[in-house]
Amino acid sequence: MTAAPTRVPLVDYLVLGDEPHLVAHECTACGARFFDRRNACASCSGTEFTTVPLATDGAVRAFTIVSFAAPGVPVPYVAALVDCGGTSVRANLVDVEPDADHVALGMPVRLTTFPIGTDEAGTEAVGFGFAPA
């Protein structure tokens, strides 16, 4: 008998626990990394993968401040591409003013997690973002 989990990650490549981190599927043949469920490797067509943890610190390689989005998406928010030790990660930047004076290319950032809501069963979903380091 196992109790229902009380916390779930927003996506299955986010690992919760004492030291939350992201994981990637790494192609054993060529080293290409992916976050989604894979049929094969887009780089070399290999079909064997290992799971590797990513560095939790990184640098902002690109960002945008989205002011206009689909209904239900709170704006403005900062979307970014973060380089985590050579692996590109898509995420929001959090704990930062959403304006161009406070966000900069190359800015060092660190992974952080936060609750995004509780469902009818009382389970809490946990999301991730990157905050200024």
Partner: protein, 400 residues
Amino acid sequence: MSDDVWILGIHMTRFGKHPDADLIDLASEAALGALADGGVTMADVGVLAAGNLMQASSGVGQQLQKQIGQTGIPVYNVANACATGATALRTAIMAVRAGECDVGMAVGVEKLSGAGLLAGGSRRPDSATWEPHGRYGAVAAIDGRIGTEIMPGVFAQVGMEYGHRHGGTSFELFARISEKNHAHSTLNPLASYQKRFTLEEIMGDIMIAYPNTRPMCSANCDGAAAAVVISDAALKRLSGEQQRRAVKISASVLTSDPWTEGCQVLPDVNTLTRNAAATAYEQAGVGPDDLDLVELHDCFATAELVHYDNLMLCEEGGAVDLFESGATWRDGRMPVNVSGGLQSKGHPIAATGVANVWEVATHLRGEAGDRQIEGARVGLAHVIGLGSACGVHILEKAAA
């Protein structure tokens, strides 16, 4: 294989709001215009490729035939994101080049005015319980929670990444690219907008996704464009006037994204464009310095900058310097988007790829009126669609 394929006739509708014309009205206007321009009829056409994205499952090619001529020829309905029109054109070219017929027609048509594409699609509402869903095992919608999926945001990051790598970019620089294209469109009677914006107006307008304000985003509109292509042998049987106005398709290239690190996180619009450009220059036997004008896919101001580099209009990393030199204005060394581009001429998705070719061909024929680039002999048309397809066509004026 080495036989040339030519554009015999080509036409585009005015881009903008067409509340009284449906999709097939617009497609018909473009197709009948291209046939008349080429001096041929549907009876001469051996293959039809019809491009449309938003109503892609509705058999647009066959609907068009019912209005302008059901001649029993093969019809290809093509959808390939924002490269749909270029893909339709390439489909017709391939059929002619393969010897399946002498004459082919490509049509691209889209009804987009009033569409909310600018703000992105709809986000899946969160369900009552956190159930993993899709390839990421997401328990809730991720757009806006894990970065952005909207086009203005994606292409904003593409431009910012270029700036991070090479330096020299700023909000103002991107806005000045938009200023150029809006200024160019004042000479284009077929453009959606023909309004010159000041830099202050562009920078002070509604911010969509920094650094792209509203005038820096492609304009949703209605429109269609069509081209009739013909084999070299068949063209030689036509009149001297038809041969004189024919435009040579020196290169027709379509690519998709090769895998690069990070391309599944932020689409890599660069590598497939560089690959397409390199192949096109090789096919045509011309280089970037031979180009008299370029119509490239400025779906956002940030995108235009990176494509200067991708199309090798400058040395790698030199896009900011190229723009700062004034080269890409219509009176510059390398005029880019003299039509007004997608930001001002407008972007009826599937029509765009054929319309960019129309713009270049019209200059090569010396028929571009007030915005004519004098003495234009070689031009390049480029489109890109996520995610991802890139079409590049190089056109040359007939030798005669």
